[in-house]
Symmetry: C2
Subunit: 199 residues, 2 copies
């Protein structure tokens, strides 16, 4: 059950990260001056909201599972369903990593950039761990139908790029405006990067 | 079974649209000159690839279902699983609409813009139809566990924006380069906007 406990910890952590990320991005939407910027970040946050909705069911389920009976006692169908749900969230972690990387190109201030990059790094490690656990479990429970483990993330050079570095010299967006001339926007939400770090 | 036949037609159509969309976007990735642009469109295509992977299972399942027994004969569990899968693809349609809208900001030429906007319009109609079918079925099969139908797409002004209009005057991206000075890129894929329209 070690694996289920690990999965539970990973998906519980990413729920916290989604909240942090929303706190960082919402002010950009509020301060955006053109429809493209608004749509872009609105879209990213909406996808993270959908992921949060799924995690709010998966995390308690994994918690119950990790405290209870052995996986061998699950029916093939329950096992297969669980593997399929975890597989979907494996993609969710991968996509979240890219949302974090894309956001690095928005911010100029080191504090926010370090916060985003820290979540990016941990999310990538978590993604790799989930991938490994999935491969192990699929092999072990080869009788149960299990999801297609095809990886859509390989063979793309873009995944090898250090986006923290690449974004350092890129032109930045509306975020600098928020940071320096509209403190009321972050104040309104009662959130600062410092407070988010402690979440 | 009218509803299942409708769902099948909608998700079959969106598979075709994903292929069209990929043909339009891949040249942008190939021609991108900065990491942010590459990451941005790579990310969008990757999400659509993941959606395609799920649809390759869902569409044949719906086809089989529409040709077979009545929904009332499905077990609660099968019904609940089907509702949950369709609900995930309801979000998929919504997200695809936004991918199409975001892409409108990249292209200057009318032909591509009309192609994207046409798919956007039909995708939005399909999304609303799925939403209605889901609501009806959830009510009718109230005994089976069914997914949370909470809508993350309401109360956002951004969904009321006409992005075809808003993007008309926006500064455009790398796409104009492809269109006018690098025909070899589209030639390589053997795809043109004209050929995509007939797909």
């Amino acid at each position: 059950m070690q694996e289920i406990t690990q999965l539970h910890a990973i998906f519980d952590r990413t729920r916290g990260y989604i909240n942090n990320f929303m706190g960082v991005i919402q002010p950009i939407i509020d301060a955006a001056t053109d429809e493209h910027t608004r749509l872009y970040y609105h879209h990213i946050l909406e996808e993270e909201e959908q992921r949060m909705g799924r995690l709010q069911e998966l995390v308690p389920y994994l918690e119950k599972l990790s405290a209870g009976k052995s996986l061998d006692q699950l029916s093939d169908r329950d096992l297969s369903q669980m593997l399929s749900d975890v597989n979907l969230e494996r993609f969710g972690l991968h996509n979240f990593r890219e949302h974090l990387e894309l956001s690095l190109y928005e911010f100029k201030d080191d504090e926010t950039r370090q916060l985003l990059d820290g979540m990016r790094e941990k999310t990538h490690t978590d993604y790799l761990t989930v991938k490994e656990i999935m491969a192990n479990m699929s092999q072990r429970f080869s009788d149960a139908a299990h999801p297609d483990l095809t990886d859509h993330d390989e063979g793309h050079d873009i995944h090898q790029v250090d986006h923290l570095k690449a974004s350092a010299s890129a032109p930045h967006g509306v975020a600098s405006v928020i940071k320096h001339s509209a403190p009321a926007v972050t104040g309104k939400k009662g959130l600062t990067v410092g407070s988010l770090k402690g979440m």
